[in-house]
């Protein structure tokens, strides 16, 4: 009892208590429940059965792991594509476009107001047979467009499209953090524009690239709508499997095991990246 009052004696701890309780109930508890369910026998709905590893066995004996690879593969491809697309755009927003940067930033931000699903269905109308793009091409130029919708490429396109702001804005910040005098100094010391970029701007803007990559990777691994809407369920990402297990198949333990596996893989990858690239060191804060 004495122990307890002394723990709560500090005003900081007392003030943080409501948030701690909320997080414990709203975040930690469901997570623990999911972990618990993943060790329950298949198709059961209680947490008090004898623990078992059968769900994990099912994942690897079935071909369910294929969807895990699809998810990881698509997420990785999304990150790489976004890095390649966003760096020049972010660079332009910070250094080149001047007053137009504000307008462009707004144009990149406004779509976020519209629900992701609605935007994806917009793309369906755009790409579908006889839709905006193929229809226009046929009518104006007589060109027949091959099938793009409901292919893995369309899924990738959708993911790149949806997660672009999450790569672009951290990158913009990263590039903006490189002081102008740093670039001038490098140039004054004899560096060509390309050398200034390679030796100074790129390394100093890596924190933005890293944060953007982590953010988009984590989001993209959890993506589901792109594959459903633009992929026409031709590809089943792991998130879709999890959804099916929890809903249609009524197999909560299998869904929980898939979710735990996904969490593990993502956390390990994120930890590896964070270890390899010490953000503080890149920023020169040590």
């Amino acid at each position: 009892m004495i122990e307890k009052t002394s723990v709560l004696a500090q005003p900081g701890r007392r003030a943080a208590l409501p948030i701690m309780v909320l997080l414990a109930l709203g975040f930690v508890a469901p997570l623990l429940a999911v972990v618990g369910f993943s060790f329950m026998p298949a198709r059961t709905f209680g947490l008090w059965h004898e623990p078992t590893l059968e769900n994990y066995e099912t994942i690897f004996s079935d071909n369910t792991y294929v969807s895990l690879f699809w998810s990881l593969g698509l997420a990785s491809a999304t990150v790489v594509l976004l890095a390649l697309i966003c760096y020049p755009v972010a660079y332009g927003l910070v250094r080149v476009f001047g007053r137009w940067s504000t307008v462009l930033t707004l144009l990149f931000t406004i779509p976020l107001v519209v629900s992701e699903n609605i935007r994806l269905y917009g793309w369906v109308l755009f790409f579908i047979k006889g839709g905006v793009l193929p229809g226009t091409l046929r009518t104006l130029f007589g060109v027949e467009m091959g099938d793009f919708l409901f292919t893995p490429a369309a899924v990738l396109f959708g993911m790149v499209y949806v997660y672009l702001p999450f790569m672009l804005f951290p990158m913009t910040l990263g590039i903006a953090m490189v002081p102008n005098q740093m670039r001038e100094a490098a140039r004054d010391l004899g560096a060509t524009r390309w050398q200034v970029f390679r030796e100074v701007e790129l390394p100093l803007s890596t924190p933005g690239l890293m944060i953007g990559s982590l953010l988009t990777f984590v989001l993209a691994v959890g993506a589901i709508a792109e594959a459903k809407v633009l992929g026409g369920q031709r590809i089943i990402p792991i998130t879709h499997d999890i959804e099916i297990a929890f809903t249609y198949a009524q197999n909560w333990p299998l869904g929980a095991a898939l979710a735990v596996l996904l969490m593990l893989v993502v956390s390990v990858l994120v930890l590896i990246v964070l270890r390899r690239f010490d953000l503080d060191q890149i920023l020169g804060k040590r």
């Binding site: 740093m182 004054d188 010391l189 030796e199 100093l204 020169g284």
Partner: protein, 357 residues
Amino acid sequence: MTGTSEPILRLKNVRKAFGNLAAVDDINLSIGEGEFFTIVGPSGSGKTTLIRMLAGMERPTSGDILLRDKRINDTPANERPTCMVFQSLALFPHRTVGQNIEFALKIRNVDPATRAKRARELMQQLHLPADYYSKNVTLCSGGERQRVALARALAFDPQILFFDEPLSAIDYKLRKTLEKELKDIHRETGKTFVYITHSLEEAMVMSDRIGVMRRGKLIQVGSPNEIYSTPRSRFVSEFMGDVNVIPVESNGAGSVRSQTLGASFKVPPAAIESKAQCLVVRPEFLRFLNSPSDAQNSLKGVLYNEYALGSRIQYQVRVGEKVFLVEKLRQQPFKGKLDDEVLIGWDPENSILVADE
């Protein structure tokens, strides 16, 4: 060393306009080989714009910049044999001390062994401990970072070094040390240094010649001694520190008259010009007098306050509305009491007539 040597850098009618504003306005200047030239001016006087044009980071709107008689207006910074030490120093935080110093050599594809040798030489010359070679540059102290920046600039052996107020953010004591070190380095390397500062005091310590800038124009160029003892305008004389400035008008041969003080003063005969003028008397040339006949010019006032300035004591004397500053050595203080009536005076040869601008 003075400006008598062969000019390395010449500026002809150099002008830089941003919109309608001329940041640098019609500058003509010749800087000698091996000279330590300092440009002094208050903020907004255009000195930074000027040095950025010399280093190749800005392009003049009109006029010519000549490096050994070759026009370099359009030569980009990376192709000029010059280097700048920035106010922020702009050291690369993701590189070690050694990598920072070697940057220019790496860019020029010098092999790693030669690079390291040069870096270590420079570190020794600039009193940087040898084990700093692989130290993260962000862990260095202010003074060490100054030295790294200087070493980095010297590494590729540029012909001219530019300095854009690198010492302005350093505390007084360290600044004094670094000023002297910089002058030593100037002597050892024999390179041309062009330095920018808003502190005339700093300029006096280091420079062979000083150019004073105001509103984009170079208003006076001369040795530190010339700038100090014969300023041509009120602005330059006031920029040098505390001075007594009396607006006057010509009063015939060898004499000027002050309306506000209602008094006439004898001046050096050659000095009088017709346009609006000011009489400048430095506080150290003003004396307390026992009788008006002790000096050729004298004024009666009231001792208002005194300030200890280290080696000297400064006295504030009020003559009507006008405040005069008198300085005496600490060892020979004035024995008057505050609010005493005092007599102050000076001799004509210790005063200067300058343009009122």
